[in-house]
Symmetry: C2
Subunit: 218 residues, 2 copies
């Protein structure tokens, strides 16, 4: 049972995806990611499948669909970009948390891991709450770092909602606002927050937040 990424080029026709997903369903694979571009006379479907068996047989079936022109196999986005740390907040803090996270990710990626650090500086309760909520619709997210100076209200509710839906580590900078009450870890120094986020999700690190037994403020 492996995960594979395929790029399927097709003659642009309504129902392309319809036909292709019929084959996927027949093989009982899960789709972890899909992305479709429709050009003037060709369409390109990038798709990632989980629990794949009989790949050759599957690809053979796809080629039987008359508007399938080409199928390319790739490593999955998980193999290439790995687990993601997401950093959301104000520009000053996001940049400092990111610096810590990127340099620590570098130290793990050198040892063969693939950890990426994705960031967005945002202003305003609603913008930040929407971004936090959206994390439950992203794949490969291991940890969220809230890198602001004042976060509460809708943001706190969004963190609570995402933690219900996903197994997600939440690190918050030490700040006023109710959001720290939903964080697994509260860290005062932004560089440290970034480093700890990576250590917590890295396979090559021993740091385990569960072992802190409630002593979670640094």
């Amino acid at each position: 049972m492996v995960n594979v990424a395929l790029t399927i080029t097709t003659k642009e026709e309504v129902g392309v995806l319809d036909e292709i997903t019929k084959v996927i369903s027949a093989f009982g694979f899960n789709i972890s990611y899909a992305n479709l571009y429709v050009g003037i006379d060709t369409g390109v479907l990038n798709i990632e499948l989980e629990n794949v068996e009989n790949l050759d047989e599957f690809i053979e079936e796809l080629y039987k669909i008359d508007f399938v022109l080409d199928i390319e196999k790739h490593s999955t986005l998980k193999d290439i970009f790995g687990k993601r740390i997401i950093i959301i907040g104000g520009g000053a803090q996001v940049s400092k948390v990111a610096a810590g996270a990127i340099i620590e990710a570098d130290r793990h990626n050198i040892r063969g891991e693939h950890i990426s650090v994705d960031t967005i500086p945002l202003v305003g309760e609603d913008n930040i709450a929407d971004a936090v909520e959206a994390i439950s619709r992203l794949s490969r997210v291991g940890a969220l770092v809230l890198a602001g100076s004042l976060m509460g209200g809708r943001i706190t509710e969004a963190v609570r909602a995402v933690k219900k839906e996903r197994d997600l580590l939440v690190i918050s900078l030490n700040m006023p606002g109710s959001v720290t009450s939903e964080a697994d870890l509260i860290v005062t120094d932004p560089t440290q927050a970034g480093v700890m986020a990576v250590m917590a999700i890295a396979d090559t690190a021993v740091f385990d937040v569960a072992r802190l037994k409630g002593n979670n403020k640094f």
Copy 2:
């Protein structure tokens, strides 16, 4: 014609996606993003659709599928996270380019834009080349910054290939290796490289690489 994001919760059954895409094809929408989680007895499909008309009618049709339990509407990932700068290279340089990009993105996002800065520190020609190639399978990418000290070979080929497939601005740090020959912009200072990447894709900036007329090394 609008873009919408839907979270569709279904009873876990093989063929769920099959049925749902049949409806999508019938309405002639494009899928820009899809992500499927299959739980023990429910499945969750996160899907983003382009050029949507008659949304209410479409949702009505989806509810007619007997295993569709719930449909939630959200803003799209593009509305929330916006255009992405991708920074790939060594930890030291990636962190410095990211700092410039994040602080500049903050200045634009404050004015209502949504620009995110996604990074991965990687080591080795193949790892970096795979990451560059994979950009053509990601959505919302506006610019790539190559933040290394020596890049050529497969990495240069990957940049050439991605530029053929995507309208992508490529900024390279000033470094030895053939990769600079494929860059739209060669920048010596990493902070400057990050700031320029954001300025080049921001709606609220006047910087246009096309206007440099070949004078592209700073």
